[in-house]
Symmetry: C2
Subunit: 342 residues, 2 copies
């Protein structure tokens, strides 16, 4: 029922995901209003065949206050999707609904792993060199230094499991307005100090700037949820703007139209390569929960489903658990250091 | 002497600016090491003819702490450029040097206009609908609600004077992670309340998100310097990434190469339209000071010079003064409201 368009986009999203997942085995529990969902499912027998509909008439509105939504959330489609993960009925939950409510309910039902405080939302950006993971992109609006250090730990484990290649260690950078140590506000300077001083077994490269995201200077870019959300959405807006400019450019003259016809194959490839991420997982939970963008179309929803599938298929959970164990002692010492320094 | 490359880029920047300003009358006072500057000027007699070199061997390093740089800055090339504006010898100063030092020295020598506290750095982004002005993009790392309100006032005056058209009022938005009133941290929520409650005679449209920048949903986007700097640099990185992807795409096959040849004119036009801003002015000062990006090439420096020229040619100063007068009482009431609420 989530996202700006509910079942009319979420169900076609499943159909699109089946195409991109090809013959790989997957089944869906579809939570929400049975009538609305079945109406959509009737359009695709292939999709119908892999879906079980779990009816509920309760739902959470996109603009509902997260705290209120979590309190009254039991039995809503969003809640039921996360509950299915908790009960072991589903391996992952994908939702296009209220981000704050999804985070709150996921945290309540699944609990945080290791000694972590709060989940972080991670986005995987296409870059010159492959993919950069940016976190947090909106789950934690205000973050202190200890949280930024946690994001570095979670982001590194995520990258290693999902985007990493055997034998290579992900590199980690902290987003700031300059690369010199005295730049930025107190929280980023303190997090920088902690990441340098405490032995976390991370390949930490210090401060990076906004342009390093697309450059792929590091594999994991750590930032607070306010800045990360603005950066992600700014990038999405620009990607859409560029796509539109390309369309305008290639229909501006007969010569340009001819050029576009000739280059169509290559242009199509480029469009796919530049597609901004359709969603991203919450990290740090005991379970896989992927947020699909509220405004996403079927392709975006399919992308979020694909990310959930890859997380299940990868050894992300085991990798994250191993990392958390390895980092747990260090994390405690970070917190102790934070308390002493205050 | 500023920027990552000193005279070897700043002087070619003047040459490029002369081309883009065409026959419009302009003269340059070039501050810095005479030998290095003259060596560059010898390469272009046209540029030589419009430049007076003002020798100084002192300069401020890019990574020097701003507070230190301001204290010991007298006689450096950066200081002398701003001093020339103060003395009425120059109508505008353009620098590629240390942003914090430039801001501090400009504030010390030129002083703030009206009742404003601190200058803001503004960037003019190309968008679907024209240009969006974003401020602050790096001068003020931490901003309270009152400062955000000041940015709204300054940005609106800037837009009206430089990008505005007669009879239309610039629209103003406040950058946040969502459009609902309860979204974001305390400072943006408080600034939103102030901008709604106090009669500033601004066409204030409430919260906007990152994707609204490229969409051009509002003319002026207000944010703190940390977020604005990250958003600007993220956008620049993406613009460079897209340009590179287009080059790769159009050399990926013979058909694509042919297509590129046919569409070359249109592609060239697009490249120019998407060029990120080469610099931006500090607003709120009694005088025009434009920061050219440290990493800018000659085209970027030329762009910063063009912005300075346009600010001089427009009635920006008069417009800002008129606005400030109009807003002065309101500004005082904002501050009073802030103090009462604390």
């Amino acid at each position: 029922m989530g996202g700006d368009f509910g079942p009319s986009v979420m169900v076609p999203g499943i159909t699109a995901a089946l195409v991109s997942l090809a013959a790989r085995p997957v089944r869906f529990l579809v939570h929400g209003d049975e009538t609305a969902i079945e109406a959509e499912l009737r359009k695709s027998p292939t999709t119908r065949a892999v879906c079980d509909v779990r009816h509920t008439s309760l739902k959470i509105a996109g603009d509902e206050k997260p705290a209120v939504a979590v309190r009254r959330g039991k039995g809503t489609s969003l809640w039921n999707a996360v509950q299915a993960v908790k009960d072991g009925e589903a391996q992952a939950a994908v939702s296009g609904g209220n981000t704050g409510a999804l985070m709150g309910i996921a945290r309540l039902l699944l609990r945080m792993t290791g000694g972590l405080e709060r989940p972080a939302l991670v986005a995987s950006w296409p870059t010159t060199r492959g993919v950069t993971a940016v976190l947090d992109v909106g789950a934690n609006i205000e973050c202190d230094a200890a949280q930024l250090v946690e994001f570095a730990i979670m982001g590194e484990a995520f990258y290693r499991a999902v985007h990493g290649s055997a034998g290579s260690r992900p590199t980690v950078g902290l987003l700031n307005v300059g690369s010199e140590d005295q730049k930025g506000h107190e929280d980023v300077r303190e997090a920088n100090q902690l990441l340098r001083d405490i032995d976390l077994d991370l390949d930490y490269r210090g401060f990076v700037e906004g342009n390093d995201i697309a450059k792929g200077s590091v594999d994991v870019v750590v930032t607070d949820g306010f800045t990360g959300n603005v950066a992600l959405k700014t990038g999405e807006g620009l990607a859409r703007f560029f796509a539109q400019e390309i369309r305008t450019t290639f229909s501006s003259s007969i010569l340009a139209r001819l050029g576009a016809l000739l280059a169509m194959g290559a242009l199509q490839q480029m469009r796919l390569r530049l597609e901004p991420p359709g969603g991203g997982p919450f990290l740090g939970l005991n379970g896989i929960v992927v947020k699909s963008h509220g405004g996403a179309d079927a392709t975006g929803v399919a992308d979020a489903i694909r990310i959930a599938y890859e997380l299940c298929a990868s050894d992300y959970a085991a990798e994250a658990a191993r990392n958390m164990e390895r980092f747990s002692a260090a994390l405690q010492s970070v917190k102790a250091a934070m308390e002493t320094s205050q």
